[in-house]
Symmetry: C2
Subunit: 172 residues, 2 copies
């Protein structure tokens, strides 16, 4: 798509839904969580396990990570979980490559606009995630879920917008 | 920023706020609007006026448009307004260029990931807008407001996430 085609698609009547995120004191009623992202060592058993599952040498990964999250909730049984993020760069062009997760295998590409796009396709659905920084301590993410067996009849089901503020310095 | 630097910034503890947009029947309590985007003819007085203000030949614009919006509201006095969007491509590289609006002058760039980034800087603040399509009838936008007189001490103030569903076919 070039800029002409992109702008042509603007034209029309649209129904718009807007969520506002403020970066001051009180926020709205959206879902809030604390997320902790740590780097995995190359001998981490979870990392080795996920790479073996996909037949990939763990040493070809860059910055393998574990993301743990816990929702803020008044109940004592707070929703929480964790996920692995294992980027495997394309050797000839590291700005793109594979992302291994426990759920499956996706592709990533860092665009010229410094936004990272991750596409994960399974037999039932597809997830597209876009991640970029407002500044080094402010991260934006939009995750879009498409459902449908065939690529041709996939429909966008929902989108989630996250704004994430770093609450400690990055660990070395 | 390359992919290594991008991923390094992931690491740390983050406070996350999430807004969910569903594309079915009932939605949440966010701000909803109807937006209508139409193409302006090159002899449109508003287009000629805004181009003259910036000393730019209106015939160098591509797809000049008018965007009208009206918020859904139970009150009879519904918030509404309109804006002009006048892209002036860089002659040697049309994927980037200027965007003229009545508020000022910004720059645009369509990235390799098919997301359009628009930056508008004024003396008091800066707005960064990212726009991309989930499909030709579903548009996503994130607008981020940065405040501060100097680029060096600009702070991100707020972000707005829009998901927009086309409700009529594009006009030719």
């Amino acid at each position: 798509m070039d800029i002409y085609q992109f702008l042509e698609l603007f034209v029309g009547r649209w129904r718009s839904q807007r969520s506002d995120h403020q970066f001051g004191e009180g926020n709205g009623s959206d879902v809030r969580s604390v997320i902790e992202i740590t780097v995995l060592s190359f001998d981490d058993p979870d990392l080795i396990n996920i790479c073996q599952k996909h037949g990939i040498d763990p040493n070809t990964a860059i910055q393998p990570m574990k993301m743990s999250w816990e929702e803020e909730s008044l109940s004592s049984n707070k929703p929480k979980g964790h996920a692995l993020i294992v980027p495997i760069p394309d050797p000839s062009s590291p700005q793109k490559g594979l992302i291994l997760t426990r759920q499956g295998k996706g592709t990533y590409e860092l665009g010229t606009d410094e936004a990272l796009t991750i596409q994960t396709v399974t037999s039932q659905n597809a997830i597209e995630e876009r991640i970029w920084y407002g500044n080094p301590n402010l991260r934006f993410r939009v995750a879009t879920l498409l459902q449908g067996d065939q690529a041709s009849d996939r429909r966008v089901q929902s989108s989630k917008f996250y704004s994430e503020i770093r609450s400690t310095a990055p660990k070395a």
